[in-house]
Amino acid sequence: MVDFNEAGIATQLAAFGAGDMDELGFGAIGFDADTVVQVYNSWESRMTGLTAASVLGQPLFTVVALCMNNFMVAQRFEDAARDGTRLDEAIDYVLTLRVRPVKVKLRLLSLPESALRYVLILRPP
């Protein structure tokens, strides 16, 4: 089982095969350079009540998770892409859209060599 705080998690996620994402014990959303959602794991689907089918192919920040479309989350990905730098930051955050405001920990992952970027969501037990 991959841990949310594991150091080399970005590399591990890049090597995941189909179905591996659903084994994770926290939410994981993978999106491409155009912010289109390509991965929406079953844990996150259970937490939000959204099916993967309804989310995949949708822009993450402007449709699926508007509450992350700000300087704290979306801007960090844009900055990393623009600078071609690695992004791996964990922040305390509060999700609001479609759910009651809930305090979570987000891990923002972006490797210049990877096609997908990830937002990992760890909810309190």
Partner: protein
Amino acid sequence: MTAATYIETEYEALLQLLYQAPVGLVQILPDGEIVLINSFSAQLLMPLSRDGTLSNLFTVLENAAPDLRHLVASFAAQRGCVCHDLRMQVKADKAGKLEPKMLSFSLVRIDAKRLMAVLSNVTLQVEQERQLERYRQHLEELVAERTVALERANEAAAAAHKANVERLNAEREVKIQSSKLEAVGTLAAGISHDFNNILASIIARAELADEELAEGSDAKNNVAKVISGCFRARDLVARILDFARERPDNPTRVNVELQVREALTLLRASLRPSIDLAFQSGMGETAAILADPTQIVQIVMNLCINAAHAMDNRGVIRIRLDPAASIEDAPPDQDGICITVADTGCGITPEVMKRIFDPFFTTKAPGEGSGLGLSVVYGIVKSLGGDIKVQSRVAPTGAGTTQFQVFMPTIQQ
């Protein structure tokens, strides 16, 4: 575009605006229940939540804004907007560090049951205002300090200017007096020799004529008066020469007390018995100055003769010899001796006081005084590096006082 599409498009735009807005937007019901909350306000308010939820704004802000419930209740029934400032600790920076934040809290009424709370982070603005206030206070302190310093500097400058003017006036007075003495001295020195020769010739001729005239004749009496007048004229010339005389070429060590006593002895013989001379010395008998011995005698005799005249030849003239340092208000540069001559005469009026040292100025009747006595004293004292102070209280009935204080530098034993 259909109406439904338009509404959907606008709704999406508003939703984007709501979640991207860099201000906190929280839609609440009158009881504080949160209906909608955007990302910005969620990040600001969650650290204040005790149970990790953001379900009721009153509960979340009960410590930061205990009167919020009352504020909302009073506002819910009216239209418009109300603002309220909140200070709170929030976790708003990227590193999750707790920082004191100042939030501006505004309420906008949507309808009878819904209100929108608008939270703006005004921490920077408040800090800038505080900084500005600190600068203003600091500036005021600097201005106040500078003002005090300038006032003190102005006072010091004014005092220095006043002292300078007084010093310059004093120096000018001394120069004027010295110029008068110098002019008269030059004149006296120029004519006295020739005048003495003329007098000698007159006296010689008058004495020859006197020998040939009969005793008791009117002519002999007249010649005697001519001779007597010539001798008085010769005395006057001698006094003029005294006045014109400069500092002796070879001043010697002079015991002041001895010379004062000698002058008093001479005075005693010339003053009327109704005048008492009271001498006291507060100096050692060895106090000495560098001068011509006759100069001390001249000073004392001139001052005492004037005193006797002022007292109408009745009363006591007090003469004292003291260290200058023991005299109140002594000139600052005088630390030698002080000869004081005080009388109980009629005093000197302010008008006369201005001219008492002028050569040939006299208040005596014509023929009774030359007007040179105090000029001679002044000239001698100044030539010895000394100074004179005069204090007088006028009382024509004879109960006034005049006191001359002559300061002169002493020499080491």
